[in-house]
Point group: C2
Chain length 504, copies 2
């Protein structure tokens, strides 16, 4: 069962050696170049004494160095643990400890926090990318040193060895490290490419963070597996994204709803975005209104929504095409994946919007387990099914509709209220840019519905309450609407409800 | 790492339920039908008490029942052991015992030998397909009973569980059971389909025996994985094949060299074979002359030669296209597979026809091991490389040229003589239909070169000796040419040299 995920890169060199695999700024790197550079990184990591199976933390923004390091780590038979560059020292310390990381590759721009976080990790090897001359912190080495090492062959890992240790974004509790194998990662990008109908002449805009599975697997890996190119954009801004879309004639944009919202309200000027054919949306649910407005503003683009989690290597369900998609639905299970909606006793529920239950998933894409946490693994994996904690129903044709996170559901006076439904209604108000709804403790009802909104035009809270009252059952509409500057969000644009509760 | 190879069938039902997956005689079975029928077979096998991981021998010609049983066995989580329907009782007994088979599915046409062979396997459950009314042998059940069982869900096997136990054709010694996992079988048909550029509108002619990996994986599985159709032809005859090619407008023909030879010499009449685009050749090396003649006779068809073994799920190297192929070469390694040519000390040899060594292979396609035979596994798998026993060299661009089987090499007076080279020269003589060259014991030289030929036109042995003498070095040309009616061959058309030696 020998298999290494880096094969997706290495094999393309035989087919399209001189094609760009990544674009960044004004530069490009071909398949041959990235294959050679990553082989050197692998050789350098091995020469540094790192042994196959050890974990390497990678804390870089979407720079070419991320791609070099990623494939280098895989080729060396090491385990990649990608980290959000914005993590603070105590968070970094937690990840390094929980994962037993042997090395950390970080970036000069964030190395201060990283080094503080690494202080309690004795023996950890630290490599810093882009350190200025004379500015290399003590006890660290330049990442660029690795690029001068002798190249290593691709390590003969097993298909079921862990390739990526992905800490779940953790909207509650401490992050857990989902172990994703070479096999699972390969299946995810193979199935993803087949669903997106990804072709060698496709060009993907990669602004989703590479430390997240949506950017890493569904965007970068799909593009590499099928011989396309990816345009790296390290930070989302409408101008950077629109410029890159035009300049590289991008065909596929993978994004989260907040990005689509921003692009809907952007001034695209006279930019030529005619190459763009597909917008893949995931990470959080996208309001129907945003899809409609986006496709109207950017003709020729079809937004296809999918659903998945770190534990399912992103893609578990998808709306495969414009003709097959259902508005408001996350689509149907992807190739080789079973999805059920079950009640509290693990019984499958019949179709219909009244039959809301938990989404459970099994198939090739389901993770191996949480690193060093058999209790959490056992809690999530029951009877061979991964329990997502997301609530949904399905229709007669198997399309799934997420109603909310299980733990975000509000119980008001004995009635179930799904915040997402309220948020969708708020989004239909022209003044509302963004909305997050939670339950506030209430003596009489148990919980009361409270909405936080970000406005793009002036509107009184009472007006928004009235807007909801008109459109929702009496037990559902928010009695309180609070206008805020911004909503707390995770890396994929999911509103962090736990943070929002602190606003109360 | 849950994965079941039957997913390749089951998932297509969601996409093209009403498309034929197999044609046979005047009938067709759609994806939905075969999925339902095989689910019943799975249910029937489970109801018969067979537990996941047990082995089921399947001894059927290329009939739809093979396909039903194959996917049924996979869905039930059982291990498929396909057997040549022509095996004699002692051979069947050997296979059943060596594999610890729990059940045997056989066919009324060959059930006599099968039952004799099964006599020493107590507890073996036997199912007979196509038994005439009142003609069911004692102690057996009708295979068709299984089709009436309640359907079973697809068993949640692991990707590294054995899916198929494939006994190697065994040109010498007793056959050994190569264990091929769900993962390996999936990779083989995925990579195969990508190389053949297989599309849902492709139609494959399936006359290669399904008990062999070339027919099972490279033909049937590729076709199912990518939503095509396969036309089953149980026995090779030029008329049956030509009729089927025309009638179903087949686009892809997978065959062994003897089939191409026969089709070159066939009278195709005014049949319209214009749909045919690709001839995949494997199983044995195809003479260049045959490729030339075939493509001249059937314009529009390109013959692409590949190479592989049961232990590598058929496909290890391939000539990917008409522009990339090299005459006489087996091509280059397929996606994710490493191939080297090594000397007796496992050192990789440089390119060039003088650097003949053994082909060794590693990658996703390399088998798990020989069932119950760790010694043979260790002998074949050294340093992570599977040792094929085939001799070859490679050119500067990595194209491989097989010179012969290691054990078939003749050493004449201290010089290495590769029988295949002599056979190729004999094939260029217009009177020669087929040729097999071996070494005969010789007191003075150690071995002497002897050729056996099948003629299509009269020719004196002396004339053939002279033909070779003109074209080959003095130490190589055969001093003796023997005209025979037929050459002994294995199921893929490989001349059985061990049998040929008995002719001496």
């Amino acid at each position: 069962m020998a298999f290494n995920l880096a094969t997706i890169l290495h094999e393309r060199v035989k087919i399209t050696p001189d094609k760009p695999v990544v674009h960044f700024g004004g530069s490009s790197w071909t398949y041959r170049q990235v294959d050679e550079i990553s082989a050197r990184v692998a050789g350098g990591l091995r020469a540094a004494g790192l042994r196959p199976g050890s974990t390497v933390a990678l804390q870089l923004p979407n720079l070419p160095e991320f791609v070099f390091a990623y494939f280098g780590i895989l080729k060396a038979g090491l385990v990649l643990m990608p980290l959000n560059p914005l993590l603070k020292a105590p968070e970094i310390a937690y990840h390094l400890k929980d994962s037993d990381a042997a090395a950390l590759v970080t970036w000069a721009g964030v190395a201060g926090e990283a080094l503080k976080g690494a202080a309690d990790a004795p023996g950890l090897q630290i490599f810093v990318a882009s350190a200025p001359d004379g500015g290399l912190p003590d006890g660290t080495r330049r990442f660029e040193e690795l690029l001068a090492a002798d190249p290593a062959d691709v390590a003969q890992t097993n298909a079921d060895d862990t390739a990526v240790l992905l800490y779940t974004s953790g909207t509650t509790g401490r992050p857990k490290g989902a172990e994703l194998t070479h096999f699972q990662m390969f299946m995810a990008c193979t199935v993803g490419g087949e669903i997106f109908d990804y072709r060698p002449d496709d060009v993907s805009l990669l602004v989703l963070p590479l430390f997240h599975v949506f950017g890493l697997s569904s965007t970068l890996n799909v593009s590499v597996r099928y011989g396309g190119s990816a345009v790296l954009v390290p930070r989302f801004s409408v101008d950077d994204v629109l410029d890159a879309l035009e300049r590289h004639r991008c065909t596929v944009f993978c994004g989260v709803p907040t990005m689509y919202v921003a692009l809907v309200h952007a001034d695209a000027g006279d930019r030529d975005l005619s190459a763009l054919r597909s917008g893949v949306s995931g990470g959080a649910s996208i309001p129907r209104e945003v899809i409609r407005a986006f496709e109207e503003k950017y003709p020729g683009v079809v937004i296809l929504e999918g659903y998945g989690l770190s534990e399912t290597v992103a893609l578990a369900t998808f709306n495969a095409s414009a003709t097959e998609r259902r508005a408001g639905s996350i689509g149907r299970p992807v190739w080789g994946v079973d999805v059920r909606v079950v009640d509290g006793d693990e019984r499958e529920l019949p179709p219909g919007p009244d039959n809301v239950g938990e989404i459970v998933i099994r198939g090739h894409n389901v993770f191996k387990g949480y690193h060093g946490n058999p209790a959490a693994t056992a809690e999530a994996m029951r009877d061979g099914w991964f329990h997502t904690g997301d609530l949904a129903y399905r229709d007669d044709e198997g399309y799934l509709f997420v109603v909310d996170r299980k733990k975000d559901m509000i119980i008001r006076g004995g009635f179930n209220v799904y915040p997402r439904e309220i948020e969708d209604v708020l989004h239909t108000h022209p003044a509302v840019m963004d909305a997050g709804v939670i339950g506030a403790p209430d003596e009489r009802l148990g919980e009361e519905v409270v909405a936080f909104v970000v406005l793009r035009a002036p509107a009184a809270p009472e007006e928004l309450v009235a807007h909801c009252k008109e459109r929702l059952a009496a037990y559902k509409y928010p009695r309180r609407v609070v206008v805020v500057e911004d909503l707390p969000k995770g890396p994929t644009g999911k509103v962090l409800k736990s943070e929002l509760r602190r606003y109360l």
